[in-house]
Amino acid sequence: MDTDYGGFKTTTFDSVVNWSRKFSLFQYPFVTACCGMEYMAAACSHYDISRFGAEIPRFSPRQADVLWVVGTITHKMSPILKTIYDQMADPKWVIAFGACASSGGFYQNYSVLQGIDRLIPVDLYIAGCPPRPEAVLDGLMELQNSIQYDGPKANGITPTAIRHKDQKVDQLNRYFEIPKKDVFENQQNPKSNRLSKPGFSYADDFINVSPHIGYDSPKMQKDKAALKEE
């Protein structure tokens, strides 16, 4: 992609835009629980998240690029989170910070949402209860890689994935293929057994989501139109 022509450097437009995006992430910290302490530790000078270009928390979702969901989300809180997500301008990314935001954590009860990916698309999960600041920075760098190489996302699907739909379906199916001997029944959450059963495949419409992205090259628009006709 990058080639040196006697002092000039050529690259693609996407690559430059994504490079600038990944080093100027404005964050919206949606802090509800103890994970907030680790977020603060990562943001303050010991670990210093500003080294990665993500130093400015915005307290308005309309100015933010990344939504950090830090802590337990209850069903009572879920409409608020959904509103915040809807208010953010594209392109936008969501990070589920810690066990509770990722899966409900140890709260499997009447009040807690079992993972925010049931409500909004999530780009990155950071494991831990709560995660160490190192894990937070690692997650942030993963997100930056994903921004650089996959570009902006809409509804959690990258345009690359849409352009190469068939390959993506194959890839996902290969990745989630489970040998027969390892199949086990999930007693707690029977819905998840669907995946581990033989013969499962990702449906096409799961992949084929039309992205709404800030810019579209004419070629991309053609590709999208062609994809829609299919």
Partner: protein
């Protein structure tokens, strides 16, 4: 199990403490049971006399319980005891530096009790929480709404017959393909 640990035995063995004796003298019909454990007394009160007993505990100089520390209910469904609910009130007296626990038994069909928010202001939200979680009705409470759960929530989650993982989402949720239980290979 020593004698002190077994509640049933202490209940039989223990003698009526100072406050219990006082309540028995003042309200001979109201006290239906008592026990004491290491100086902390528990008195079981009939529901009809509950408000009068509370007023006496607050105003009488021998008691002067200025603080209502806590209020909650116990659902004894799985303990197979009747009646089903047991209200527990904790009072503290700063003047005499002592505590008192009052219990009132409520049946499932008629789980109502007099509100005591006019005696201690702190009771207000405790009673709303107790109504929210257990469905106990506090008669005379000025604003008996849910405190913690949302208005659309049906049922009372801390009752033992509420299913342990039943959820009532406010928004439509997506199905999630993967969830792993940790190390539970059967």
């Amino acid at each position: 199990m020593s004698e002190e640990i077994s509640t049933k035995e202490t209940e039989v063995i223990s003698e009526a403490g100072e406050l219990t004796t006082l309540l028995q003298e003042e309200f001979p019909d109201a006290v239906s049971g008592f026990h004491a454990h290491r100086g902390d007394e528990t008195v079981v009160i009939e529901r009809d006399a509950f408000e009068a007993v509370c007023r006496f505990l607050r105003d009488d100089l021998r008691c002067s319980f200025e603080i209502m520390m806590d209020l909650t209910a116990v659902d004894r469904l799985e303990m197979k005891e009747t009646p089903r609910f047991e209200m527990v009130y904790h009072f503290k007296s700063l003047t005499h530096a002592r505590r008192l626990r009052i219990k009132v038994l409520l049946t499932e069909e008629d789980c109502k009790i007099d509100s005591i928010h006019h005696l201690w202001k702190a009771v207000d939200w405790y009673e709303r929480e107790c109504y929210d979680m257990f469905g106990i009705h506090f008669e005379g409470h000025p604003d008996l709404r849910r405190l913690l759960m949302y208005d659309e929530f049906e049922g009372h989650p801390l009752r033992k017959d509420y299913p342990i993982d039943k959820q009532q989402p406010l928004l439509e949720l997506k199905e999630v393909e993967e969830r792993h239980t940790y190390g539970r290979h059967t």
